[in-house]
Symmetry: C2
Subunit: 388 residues, 2 copies
């Protein structure tokens, strides 16, 4: 066999995505002012994407008035104002599909959007992930900014350039790494969350604390009332602490080749639960909190962490109202047989993005902030899904 070989090397892909600015605004900032104060017909066109839940929040109204005279009626899903376009999609995980992503792209195309058009996602993780995915494949990459409106997206989902949507009932199975140019954090949006949505975000806060900040975990243990009351400066500090912690990690490993994998603590079990229950049935945060419990049960079983540590975390999770039983109530009706339940979750975990073989890779802990990555025997996984 004869061949000649030549090699080409490339500069970093997408010059516009090599830096992200995260802006933390105070609670009194007028959300719409930030986007319209300096805006003129000469600035590049913008495609705002949100969902109908966010569009109905009081904070959104001053923004919405830039587009429509009949603000809250939501008669149309696409509004134009000068070179700005507002797309309102249906809310929720069940709409985190390639069809929704393509509908954003189709609207952008009809608005003559160009590569310098900025796609701005205003919403929770679902909206942020889909908007950024659409921006990343539109004409092979335009620009994206994000306005996370849930606790979960402020402390986690919006930061770090992961984009995507669900596919074939698997979470985030397709997507890209395409960091936002700016992330605008308005903690005032927290007030618009249901207590369920708020709790979902808290699970990622707990995860961050266990991975990187034992003081924060102690604070969470000792201040449940301040958390549940959503005391403003207390919550705003937590948001900044968690967003900064995640930033430091993704800065070192954007495409998840090594330390970024730690951020999946609780997620391998959690994603499997979400998938088996049907996406959208169990909230992401509740699934992650349950997954953290399972990951620590597995850590204990493998002799990695002391039983006291596992018990401490389990106690905290229960006190905050999370379900921690090995057989999750959302799947009890579906699986009367515990063995089948465990086997099914196991099969789903094999499809997880982080595996490089048929063995399943888990993020486990020896103790708080002492994290390891390990491939685990199926028998051990089945054991912690069958009994505590």
């Amino acid at each position: 066999m004869q061949f000649k070989e030549q090699s080409i090397t490339y500069p970093p892909v997408h010059p516009g995505t090599d830096r992200t600015f995260i802006r933390y605004y105070d609670r009194n900032t007028d959300f719409s002012y930030v986007f319209f104060k300096d805006h003129s017909e000469q600035t590049p066109a913008r495609i705002f994407v949100t969902d109908s839940n966010v569009a109905q929040t009081s904070l959104f109204q001053s923004f919405y008035h830039h587009f429509s005279s009949e603000a809250v009626l939501l008669k149309h899903t696409v509004e134009k104002s000068g070179n700005d376009t507002l797309i309102i999609v249906d809310p929720g995980e069940s709409h985190k599909t390639i069809e929704t992503v393509l509908s954003i792209i189709s609207t952008a195309l009809n608005c003559n959007a160009q590569r310098n058009t900025v796609f701005i996602g205003i919403g929770g993780g679902v909206i942020c992930d889909m908007t950024a995915f659409a921006a990343s494949i539109f004409k092979r990459g335009s620009r994206v900014e994000l306005v996370p409106t849930t606790l979960l997206s402020m402390v986690d989902a919006a930061i770090g350039g992961k984009t995507g949507c669900d596919f074939d009932n698997y979470k985030n199975m397709i997507g890209t790494f395409f960091p936002a140019q700016k992330i605008h954090i308005f903690p005032a949006f927290i007030k618009s969350l249901s207590s369920e949505q708020f709790r979902s975000g808290l699970a990622e806060v707990v995860k961050t604390a266990l991975l990187y900040n034992s003081d924060l975990f102690t604070i969470l243990e000792q201040n449940r009332d301040r958390v549940f009351k959503q005391e403003e400066s207390f919550i705003d500090n937590i948001i900044e602490t968690c967003a900064s912690a995640k930033s430091r990690i993704v800065e070192q490993d954007l495409t998840e080749n090594n330390i970024r994998m730690q951020l999946n603590f609780g997620h391998t079990f959690g994603h499997a639960l979400e998938t088996c229950a049907g996406l959208g049935t169990v909230s992401h945060g509740d699934a992650v909190a349950w997954g953290i419990g399972r990951a620590l049960a597995l850590s204990k079983r493998l002799g990695l962490c002391p039983g006291e540590y596992e018990q401490r975390v389990v106690k905290m999770l229960s006190e905050y109202g999370w379900e921690i039983a090995s057989v999750h109530s959302a799947l009890k009706q579906q699986f009367t047989n515990t063995a089948t339940y465990a086997q099914t979750l196991c099969e789903v975990m094999k499809k997880d993005k982080k595996n490089n073989s048929n063995r399943i890779r888990f993020i486990l802990q020896k103790n708080i902030t002492d994290t390891v990555i390990a491939e685990v025997e199926e028998s051990d996984i089945l054991a912690v899904l069958s009994h505590d």
Copy 2:
């Protein structure tokens, strides 16, 4: 308004995509040997993607035998062999859709493909672009290698990391920049091309010559017979010359911020023709050759290039059998009114990915290998679409 700001910087995205090896094999190399000689069950899984035209070529048969005992019957579109999977999709531009891309991803998912799975596209530009797009969004980025089987994809489409598919009847409207790790060039595949497919690839050869290699253009002018006879060493040299020229350009500007735009010479007009005629009606190469003629007519009209240069190129294009009339025969039935014809093509060009405003950007020439980029008044564009 109060805010704090933090910035995160990233290392190059996708470490696996920072270098491409291009291998030029001689005509005697057994195509399947290259892929199976060192392969074992331990190496990462591979997803081969091809179309039913390529799968029926004689060169493909030894390869196909690794998968099926009933080689040429093509009873199934998905074949398994150990940890290898072969996907055969329908051929042609009309199948260059997000649905086909998603069907590749869906199959990969069912085969438990992981991030270290290699997607290997074997085919023309359509197969190479779609396979690489699927690989780039599967689990946020796996790996890709390409085996271009047409002259067009050997000299152009496979090189340079552009991936994607058509959308809403617009060419390559969605996609990513995601370079292949290896590009395997087997010139022996040239024999399997129809004369129409061969001519389509020649148009990109002519483009490369006009942009970067005036000697090559003279050779093409003087050796039409050797080209048409597809004299082996003569063609193999042309392939290597053109692939190398393109490599040098994309190496300097992968994401098309500056000099890579030159490679769109003839493509703005060409893409508009393809779109208006209905994708797949006029071959890409024929459209590009026609577009080169229009781009030079525009260059002459704007006083950029001497009439002699335009005439020299037009003469060569005609002698090679390309259509060069301002009103293309493929659209004559659709548009009896020349003004409407010109206006429609113009509207389509406004959606081109390379524009950053409503003005249309063209690649024009002052002379051979002397290229400029310019935004042009609509009246001038309309003029060169109405008469020569």
